[in-house]
């Protein structure tokens, strides 16, 4: 694996037995972020075996956890290398680490540093974090980097339906599906904080309606005199697609609780299914009546 660092104790500069000990994951980016934030200092870095996973995710899974920390302190013989009994851990490792258990298990006292390594120089001045250093944000930049992942995840599910719609029904309608998926995977992450309501599903429904109105109006003309039914069918079929993708974006955010997401699933998946099926029925009816009228 190209993204892992060998677990163990590392020296940065020329640390003494009184130097600080920082704890990190063995994911290259986590380790490098810490290393560059501490550049020019003489410290120890204790790298845990988190299977190459970053701090927060590893903490959530428990691999960056009390057990591994205590074990790694023992393996490296840290207690014989430093005179003090203090460790500085990244704040986001806390979901996996219980500081009272670490003290009991190793004698070392845990101090939680800031969320982001680049705040460490300021933090270390007084060993005190500002409220901002403790907060996890989800700025545009972080949301945009996720777009390719969202697209790659959605793509395999969308190829067959798009091709089927295109070849069997119409390429205009296939393009509408592409648009709905684009809204859910690209526009949604960008617009997330701007969309009204707190629930992701309703945010997605609102975005879906906004995005689908122009093609719904454009495409409806072909179904005269059933334009209204055709436009309604377009909205009913494609907005749940955007909403579903929006709901799935919960897993990519750093703030949705399991309780809330579960509630959303039970609340809105039935609504999405009902919209989709009633839209499909309406589309078939409008299409059939249109064809009959033509004949």
């Amino acid at each position: 694996m190209g993204h892992t660092v060998e677990p163990g104790l590392y020296r940065l500069g020329c640390p003494t037995p009184d130097s600080d000990v920082f704890v990190s994951a063995n994911y290259t980016l986590s380790f490098d972020a810490l290393r560059s934030a501490l550049a020019g200092r003489d410290v120890y870095i204790l790298v845990l075996d988190t299977k190459g996973i970053n701090v927060w995710c590893a903490a959530g899974k428990g691999t960056f956890g009390t057990e591994e920390l205590v074990r790694r302190i023992g393996i490296t013989g840290l207690a014989g290398i430093v005179r003090h009994r203090r460790l500085i851990l990244p704040q986001l490792s806390a979901p996996g680490v219980s500081w009272p258990d670490v003290v009991r298990g190793s004698g070392f006292l845990v101090e939680y540093g800031p969320v982001r390594a680049h705040d460490l120089p300021e933090y270390l001045a007084a060993h005190k974090a500002t409220p901002a250093m403790r907060r996890v944000e989800f700025p545009l930049r972080d949301r945009v980097v996720l777009i390719p992942v969202e697209l790659v995840q959605a793509l395999p599910f969308m190829l067959v339906p798009v091709a089927a719609l295109g070849f069997l029904v119409s390429w205009f309608i296939a393009a509408e599906l592409v648009l709905a998926v684009f809204a859910g995977t690209v526009l949604f992450p960008i617009l997330l904080p701007m969309l009204p309501t707190k629930d992701f599903s309703t945010k997605g429904l609102i975005l879906g309606v906004l995005v689908m109105i122009p093609p719904a109006i454009l495409g409806a003309g072909a179904f005269a005199p059933f334009q209204l039914a055709a436009a309604a069918a377009t909205l009913l079929i494609f907005t749940p697609v955007t909403a579903y993708l929006a709901l799935n974006f919960t897993g990519s955010t750093p703030f949705t609780s399991r309780t809330g997401v579960k509630k959303e699933i039970f609340r809105y998946i039935p609504v999405m299914a009902a919209m989709l099926s009633s839209g499909a029925i309406l589309a078939v009816l409008a299409g059939a009546l249109h064809l009959l009228g033509v004949i």
Binding site: T4, P95, R116, P254, F255
Partner: protein, 112 residues
């Protein structure tokens, strides 16, 4: 309306708090604030149930059922007939993740 996140499994028993301030240090959403004599639960609905506060509270003054709020994982678990509450990230099955390393400070379900 349209806010499924107002309630969660976070419970705080202030009478047990010894004001060690750990919860205010570990919470990524400032759910707890430092108080005069004990920590104060100020933004309960912002809790994402990561479990850091409860795990680091030395007097069990905080309880929360921790888990990852990922619809992809939970729907996947429901479809496979597994427990929606025990699915998590990064594993093999019942997982929403691709595994591997991820970007720092993003949550569990995305691989960079």
């Amino acid at each position: 309306m349209f806010d499924s996140y107002r309630e969660n499994t976070l419970n705080y028993y202030p009478e047990r708090c010894i004001n060690c301030k750990r919860c205010t240090q570990v919470c990524p959403h400032a759910v707890f604030a430092e108080g005069e004599k004990r920590a104060e639960l100020v933004r309960s609905s912002e809790c994402m149930e990561c479990g850091a506060c409860a795990l680091n509270c030395p007097t069990q003054a905080i309880e929360v059922q921790s888990g990852v709020g990922c619809a992809w994982a939970m729907i996947g678990a429901a479809i496979r007939g597994r427990d929606m509450d025990s699915c998590s990230c990064g594993g093999s099955e019942g997982s929403c993740c691709g595994g591997g390393g991820e970007k720092e400070t993003t949550p569990c379900c995305e691989v960079k």
